[in-house]
């Protein structure tokens, strides 16, 4: 069973539908620690505020179970806010701790870059490592983004994809069993479905 974590941060139906289209046979929307322990893989999606997301995970008692699940080596996919929450902190919510699974922070696109923020639309991802999450995808493939913040992992070897928006930022992380994307695979047409297929194949 693939567990899609519902922690009150946005609509999960499109992620669920995309997993079904990618061939997932058993995907359940879950919000309790027990269900996470039963899962073969977990997906942490989410849109919205980092602080609210972190608080909701703690309130539901999910933070520890997600950490334990990831340490067990089973596949984890974080999408958008679900990627940002892997970090220790975010400029969006000073003083609030993320899951801290990856050392690093989440920061906002700098005003001085004169960009429209949030970044909304299709942008390309240049692959900078050969992780299986990109199997079957060409370099500089386009994916759909909607975000104002991006992650800065301390260990740059975890960065699997870079995207340019005023600066080059980390749009994809791959670290052993962890895959995390700033873009929305569930809204990125065939390329996004391929990312999800690759994740399902890693189970």
């Amino acid at each position: 069973m693939i567990a899609l974590i519902d922690y009150g941060m946005g609509n999960l139906s499109s992620v669920r539908k995309a997993f079904i289209a990618a061939g997932a046979r058993n995907i359940e929307i879950v919000s309790s620690p027990n269900e996470i322990y039963r899962a073969e893989a977990i997906v942490l999606p989410g849109v919205g505020n980092f602080g609210d997301g972190a608080k909701n995970l703690n309130f539901l008692g999910l933070s520890d179970s997600i950490r334990n699940f990831i340490s067990s080596g089973k596949p984890f996919l974080g999408i958008c806010l679900g990627m940002q929450l892997l970090m220790e902190t975010s400029e969006e919510a000073p003083g609030i701790k993320g899951l801290g699974i990856i050392n690093g922070k989440t920061i906002k696109f700098d005003n001085s870059l004169n960009l429209k923020v949030p970044q909304i639309g299709w942008n390309s991802v240049s692959k900078i490592n050969k992780h299986s999450c990109f199997n079957g995808l060409k370099d500089n493939e386009y994916f759909y983004f909607v975000h104002s913040y991006y992650v800065v992992p301390e260990n740059t070897s975890y960065i699997a994809g870079l995207t340019e928006y005023g600066i080059k930022f980390c749009s994809c992380i791959c670290k052993e069993n962890i895959t995390a994307t700033q873009f929305h695979p569930e809204k990125s047409q065939d390329a996004g479905i391929q990312i999800i297929k690759n994740f399902i194949n890693s189970i």
């Binding site: 946005g10 609509n11 139906s13 499109s14 539908k17 995309a18 079904i20 289209a21 849109v47 919205g48 960009l115 429209k116 923020v117 949030p118 970044q119 909304i120 639309g121 299709w122 942008n123 390309s124 386009y142 759909y144 983004f145 909607v146 340019e164 928006y165 569930e186 809204k187 990125s188 047409q189 065939d190 996004g192 479905i193």
Partner: protein, 252 residues
């Protein structure tokens, strides 16, 4: 680099695409779901469904259309027309829409923008503006499908709604809509340069050059078009190749 988006718009009433399309490969060219699947195949970047009946019956049928489309098409879907309350927004988003657009309801009570952005996030809330040039050289906001004039100045209205949390602006020129004489470059540019959210230009597309002009000179982030694609004058890949050759970043 962030790509400029090409967005076909499907006007829907009574569960059908208004005037239909002439996609010869479709069994039913008036079926919104079939049209959506075809545009997805053509690599449209997003889709907008505009419910032009917006009666309570119409709303049920659009919800059903969105739900069916969202099972087959994995690109962002926006629904507009008749979205009046937070409950309407929730219904649309739960059925599979990624964004809802509001026009008349925001004019009647702008707090719906703030409430919607607070509940669902700014990225879900698209402000639709129907604008028409006034005698003073500025643009007035119209509602009810362009039938009702308001006292609002389009530029000030755009800025105000962005301050309330609108995450995108779908800007239709009433002067240009249906003319096929090109988008309103002046209007699009002034609004796009005054707000820090994306502006989708709409109204007036008659050629691919028009798309280029509004993306380039008009500073639009995306273009919306209906008949130019529905009736097979151009396909979306043709539009994208044309723009790419003119150095506009597009997703190909």
């Amino acid at each position: 680099m962030l790509a400029k988006r090409i967005i076909p718009c499907l006007d829907v009433t009574g569960g059908r695409v208004v005037k239909g399309t002439n996609f010869i490969n479709l069994i039913d060219a008036g079926d919104p779901v079939e049209c959506a699947v075809e545009y997805n195949r053509q690599s449209a970047d997003e889709l907008v469904f505009l419910d032009i009946t917006a009666t309570s019956d119409g709303r049920k049928s659009i919800v059903d259309i969105i739900a069916k489309t969202a099972e087959k098409v994995f690109i962002p879907l926006t629904v507009g027309g008749g979205v009046r309350t937070i409950e309407d927004m929730r219904t649309m988003l739960n059925s599979g829409a990624d964004k809802v657009s509001v026009n008349s309801a925001a004019v009647a009570d702008p707090s719906i923008i703030k409430a919607g952005a607070g509940k669902f996030g700014s990225q879900c809330i698209v402000l639709a503006i129907d604008a028409k040039k006034a005698q003073n050289g500025r643009w007035k906001v119209y509602t009810h499908g362009g039938r009702k004039e308001t006292v609002l100045d389009a530029l000030e209205w755009a800025k105000y709604c962005v301050s309330l949390g609108a995450g995108e602006i779908l800007l239709t020129s009433m002067d240009k809509d249906g003319t096929k004489s090109g988008y309103d470059i002046e209007l699009t540019k002034i609004i796009s340069e005054s707000v820090n959210v994306p502006v989708i230009a709409s109204g007036g597309a008659g050629s691919l050059e028009h798309m280029y002009d509004v993306l380039n000179a008009g500073k639009a982030d995306a273009v919306l078009a209906a008949s130019i694609f529905h009736f097979g004058q151009f396909t979306i890949p043709q539009a994208k190749l044309f723009l790419k050759n003119k150095h506009i970043p597009v997703r190909i």
